[in-house]
């Protein structure tokens, strides 16, 4: 392993065992992937509950990993990114109700619609930098939420029901699980590809110093817009899947700040600007929430805990779990996906 290799690749920590890191890491990841794929085939107790929890976890993995593309690599914090979640959900929902197409088929279309909307959103909100951008994303969320709240075609604030999926109760969770897993894997894959591309390098450059990046010839405006658009895709597909799984669409499911909060928090706790970070963070938050609900019931204290965790991470571990571990040179190989 020459010095040049370590200069070119983003910091890959050599784990202390001295094993050839890449090989065992690949094996571990394949094992994880296998578990994910085969989970529904295992006959365990509380089957529906576990599958549902896993589906939710995968959803947040998809959301956080996607958000990371603009919020992590480019460091443009969007607090309204769940617009795409709702756009995806409603697109597929409408296609189902009015055209009869199953969201399992139209999820990709929903993702595309979200992506196009992302271009549009990006072009407007990215006129601003820094805090103004963040404010613009919040406003965008509220505007879209408001529009859906008043749009009769989709039932306005009362929402609309979706036809139930054509599966028996015993196995109905399974297709949703796989659909969400597809979104999650897709989002992680996209995040990884972006991180290892010239595009991703450009995003990182502009996150450090936008002026210098401009001067170096990077069209920062387009880079950012495309980042927003890309990040929208799997958020849209996840939204399509989620809406269908609830058999009900309502603005408050998609367009509340709470959803944005969890997306952002997951990425930050796990470690922004890393591939594994948002995954770790998403799983952790879902786990903590579930634990809290089981122990204490669904109270407002959950929100308090979320806030406290965010503050603690920002003050003491701003790089997040994966980021801090990597900084300290103690990142286990199976978490180093960069």
């Amino acid at each position: 392993m020459t010095d040049m290799a370590s200069d070119v690749t983003p910091s890959v920590s050599d784990d202390t065992g001295g094993r050839p890191g890449t090989v065992s890491r690949r094996v571990l990841l394949l094992v994880v992937l296998a578990i994910v794929l085969l989970l529904p085939l295992a006959p365990f107790a509380a089957y529906n509950y576990v599958l549902q929890l896993a589906t939710v976890a995968l959803m947040w993995v998809a959301l956080a990993s996607s958000w990371n593309i603009i919020g992590g690599y480019a460091s443009y914090i969007s607090l309204g990114h769940n617009v795409f979640f709702g756009i995806g959900g409603y697109t597929s929902g409408l296609a189902l109700v009015y055209l009869g197409f199953s969201p399992f088929l139209t999820a990709l279309v929903a993702g595309l619609v979200a992506l196009v909307f992302g271009l549009f959103v990006g072009l407007i909100t990215l006129r601003a930098k820094g805090p103004t951008f963040i404010v613009a994303t919040i406003a965008m969320l509220f505007v879209v939420g408001l529009l859906f709240d008043n749009w009769e075609l989709v039932g306005a604030s009362s929402g609309m029901s979706l036809p139930l999926p054509p599966f028996s109760v015993d196995v109905v969770k399974v297709p949703f699980y796989y659909a969400m897993a597809a979104s999650a894997v897709g989002a992680i894959f996209l995040s990884h590809r972006v991180a290892h591309s010239k595009f991703g390098l450009g995003l990182r450059a502009l996150s450090q110093d936008e002026t210098k990046a401009e001067v170096a010839g990077i069209n920062t405006r387009w880079y950012k817009v495309i980042a927003v658009a890309l990040s929208a895709f799997f958020i849209g597909t996840a939204g399509a899947t989620w809406g269908y799984s609830l058999s009900y669409l309502r603005p408050t499911i998609f367009f509340t700040i709470g959803v944005a909060a969890q997306m952002v928090l997951s990425a930050i706790i796990g470690g922004r600007a890393t591939v594994a970070g948002p995954v770790v963070g998403a799983l952790l938050i879902v786990g903590i929430n579930e634990f809290a609900i089981v122990q204490f019931g669904a109270t407002e204290l959950n929100i308090v805990v979320t806030g406290v965790i965010l503050l603690a991470v920002l003050l003491f571990f701003p790089l997040g779990i994966v980021g801090s571990l990597r900084e300290a040179g103690r990142l286990p190989a199976f978490l180093d996906w960069d």
């Binding site: 460091s75 820094g130 805090p131 103004t132 919040i138 008043n150 929100i303 805990v305 979320t306 503050l311």
Partner: protein
């Protein structure tokens, strides 16, 4: 014609209150570059204080301003000192303040919800439902009094900034922090004082809010989105811009409500924000930001 003036008057009265709310937010950004996503949460905390002052001790909301302002000033310091000076030297400071205040807002919302539940609250002083009829115009007394208090406080703020030594130091810090330092201003102390002051203004806003609008913990998001859009329009860090932005947007939204109904009035603020972003991203009175 009378209808137009009527709507205009209602808008102006509303604008007065928005201006007070936005002024605190602007002060925080102007002096310390803090984008306080929790500002409305603080306002609602103050509203609860006013509510219980009214409910338990029959203290009139307008009088409660004398309570909420100092209480929120102290609360502000208690929140500011352990959290914000620590992150002052971080690379992406303003972004950090956004995330931190976001977390703060979540904590406050959760605590408020836990202790007070999500029931809509409102204080009900007699003037809340009164109105003055003057030359065919219907002027709600509650709003009028609120705008009066607002105006008094804003004038007080202006006098403080213009004529007192500390106020001048605050202005200097807002205009050029490093220069203020080298001229002998203790910018750390000024920052803390400004934060407390911003919170005191939020406190007064809360007292007014308590009878003007029904409130509940999760409502702060709606307010903060509005206020942020407003100060971006006015120009971040410009008090003049905040006041003008508040009044003009309130009037505009009054007309929107009049024509399309109350559901659409928040849209005015957001649309105005997007328009300003396209036309003049630094806002009406802001300087071009170098972030």
């Amino acid at each position: 014609m009378t209808e137009i003036i009527q709507v205009l008057v209602l808008g102006l009265l509303l604008g007065g209150v928005y201006a007070l709310m936005a002024s605190g937010l602007t002060l925080l950004f102007g002096v310390m570059r803090i984008v306080n996503l929790a500002h409305a949460a603080f306002i609602i905390v103050a509203a609860y204080i006013a509510f219980y002052a009214f409910d338990l001790f029959q203290i009139d909301p307008l009088i409660s301003v004398l309570i909420t302002m100092p209480v929120m000033f102290v609360l502000g310091l208690a929140v500011y000192l352990p959290l914000f000076p620590r992150i002052e030297s971080s690379a992406r400071y303003t972004e950090m303040t956004v995330l931190m205040t976001f977390g703060l807002a979540l904590v406050m919302e959760g605590l408020l919800g836990f202790f007070f539940t999500g029931i809509f609250r409102s204080t009900r002083p007699p003037y809340a439902t009164d109105a003055i009829l003057w030359a065919d115009l219907f002027i709600p007394t509650g709003q009028l009094l609120a705008t009066g208090v607002s105006a008094l406080l804003l004038i007080g703020l202006w006098l403080f900034l213009r004529y007192t030594r500390t106020g001048t130091a605050v202005r200097a810090t807002m205009q050029n922090r490093t220069s203020a330092q080298i001229v002998g201003v203790n910018v750390r102390r000024i920052s803390a004082i400004s934060f407390g002051l911003g919170m005191a203004l939020a406190g007064a806003s809360g007292s007014l809010l308590s009878y003007l609008f029904p409130f509940f913990p999760a409502q702060h998001w709606r307010w903060v989105a509005l206020l942020l859009a407003l100060i971006v329009l006015g120009g971040l860090g410009s008090l003049k811009g905040a006041v003008i932005g508040a009044v003009s947007l309130a009037v505009a939204s009054a007309f929107v409500t009049n024509q399309l109904g109350p559901d659409w009035s928040p849209m005015t603020f957001y649309l105005a924000l997007f328009i300003i972003l396209l036309v003049r991203p630094q806002g009406l009175f802001g300087k071009a930001l170098r972030i």
